[in-house]
């Protein structure tokens, strides 16, 4: 899907996982999309939810694509550049499928929740049964639909399970407002990410976090 289509043609269809995130954002919010890529989600939120949106993206090529479509996106690194923003600058800060690729996930989480009143975070679940089977019986690092790169070329240096993530939230005294267990495509499963089944059966998880 290309960004200009989202901007220009009304009935929008964006990737299921992005749609899941978009559905969590109330209209008119102030949103920072961290790792916004070419701005597909941002364009959708701006156009159809009237959000006041900003984007931060590492890849200059993707930034150019987003800005060329009229989106307020800057090139930057989330691990060093979030500190530039004032506290509480946004209603929602979105970090989609990126936390596991950061050098310091805890620090990133702190920054997300400083800059935003709420954070929407999604990540692949390393506790999924397919991952476990792969290590247990294959004896090798898993390559699954969610984790498609071999160990020597994956950007994912801090993978975690849903339970690990919930532990971190508890450790950081972060409140989980909502958690969704998702399949590979980003469709919701029939239970919450905080449900016992999620750690084994969700391919990915999506959380709405806040500081109490």
């Amino acid at each position: 899907m290309n960004v200009s289509e989202t901007i220009k043609s009304p009935p929008p269809r964006i990737r299921v996982d992005l749609q899941q995130v978009a559905d969590l954002v109330p209209p008119g919010s102030r949103v920072l999309d961290v790792g916004c890529g070419d701005g597909t989600l941002l364009a959708y939120l701006t156009r159809f939810k009237q959000v006041d949106g900003r984007g931060l993206e590492l890849s200059m090529a993707k930034v150019r694509a987003a800005v060329s479509h009229g989106l307020p996106v800057i090139q930057g690194n989330l691990e060093t550049d979030l500190k530039d923003y004032p506290a509480g600058a946004f209603d929602y800060v979105i970090l989609s499928q990126t936390l596991q690729a950061t050098l310091n996930p805890r620090n990133v989480m702190e920054e997300l929740l400083r800059v935003g009143k709420r954070a929407i975070v999604s990540f692949p679940n390393f506790g999924h049964w397919r991952v476990r089977v792969s290590v247990m019986f294959g004896g090798r690092m898993p390559v699954t639909p969610m984790l498609s790169d071999a160990w020597f070329e994956t950007p994912n240096i801090h993978l975690c399970t849903v339970s690990d993530f919930i532990d971190l939230c508890r450790l950081m005294k972060v409140q989980i407002e909502a958690g969704f267990a998702l399949d590979t495509h980003g469709q919701r499963l029939g239970f919450a990410a905080t449900d016992r089944r999620a750690n084994l059966f969700s391919e990915q998880a999506l959380f709405v976090l806040t500081r109490p």
């Binding site: 930034v63 150019r64 060329s68 479509h69 009229g70 600058a89």
Partner: protein, 394 residues
Amino acid sequence: MAPDIAPQPAPAPAAQDLKLTLQSPLVLQSGVTLSPVTLAYQTYGTLNAARSNCVLICHALTMDQYVASQHPITGKPGWWGDLVGPGKAIDTERFFVVCANVLGGCMGSTGPKEISPATGKPWGLQFPVITIRDMVQAQAKLLDYLGVDKLFCVTGGSMGAMQVLEWATRYPERVFTAVPIAGSYRHSAQNIAFHEVGRQAIMADPDWSHGNYLAENKIPKRGLAVARMAAHITYLSETALHQKFGRRLQDRETLTYGFDADFQVESYLRHQGYTFVDRFDANSYLYITRAMDYFDLAQENDGILSNAFKGTPVRYCLISFSSDWLFPTEESRAIVRALNAVAANVSFVEVKSDKGHDAFLLDEPEFHQTLQGFIDGSAEICGLPPRQVRGPKS
């Protein structure tokens, strides 16, 4: 597609030399009162009924108001002719484009070459030192006269970017979008140093006559040419110079063991220097470079740049070029950081180019696409009509 059925682009707008003499004197940043003040300017396109489609273009040090029309002295096309015109990124069919020669300039606006009312002679060094803020203040009065309360966009490269920043911070309520290109919030020590070399070259020319050369019927050609040569090097990247000239010799097979222009690069710079003299005034060069040196948006705000942007409603788009070492990307990034610190609406793109600072004047498709995308996106938000898609009638 056969060329004969391709849609014909509308002809480039003709230059129409316009001038405005301000009704009231201008109180300069230095405290000096300057009167009368005349601005020479060009406009393209038509102001809409809501007066909401005005784009102000601020020119760089040695440019002028001929942004999209033929230059009256050099005969060259407008310096941003690739960007400004019917159907272009700054579409003159949708926008009312204004570009004025800066205060202190030498293409018709009040500057050191014009006649001082007190003496009846050219101002020369009696002309007061002007600043970027003074230039912008004069432009604001021009827009008052044109009936433009709020600019849809103010943009410009290099010194133009300084004026854009001054506009957006001094008159935030009058600016919807600001696009500073290849610029900085202040002149660095290196920038000032290069300007000082240029000024010293001019002042070392005996024909400069302490700034009185016009009254004495002289022109400090050599000094101004050297100033231009030194400055021109800073506009290009090492790669660009190397690719263009390498160590190739000029119209000769071997070295001459003398100080003639053996190398192509020497010949090129001499040409740049000597053609510049025909279209630029040496004293204007002194005054305008000084205005750039004095510009420091952080210092004006207690040393904290983000203070300049507090509560700004302006939508910013910063564009830099990867090989620009005169106004490096880091300068634009510092502005972006300051804008982030107040959670302002900001886009920022570094365009990959090997052409150095000059890239903002050249055909850089990525730059043009970025600018056009930002302008079209902002126009939509501002409620201006979309770009007319040009295509063959089916």
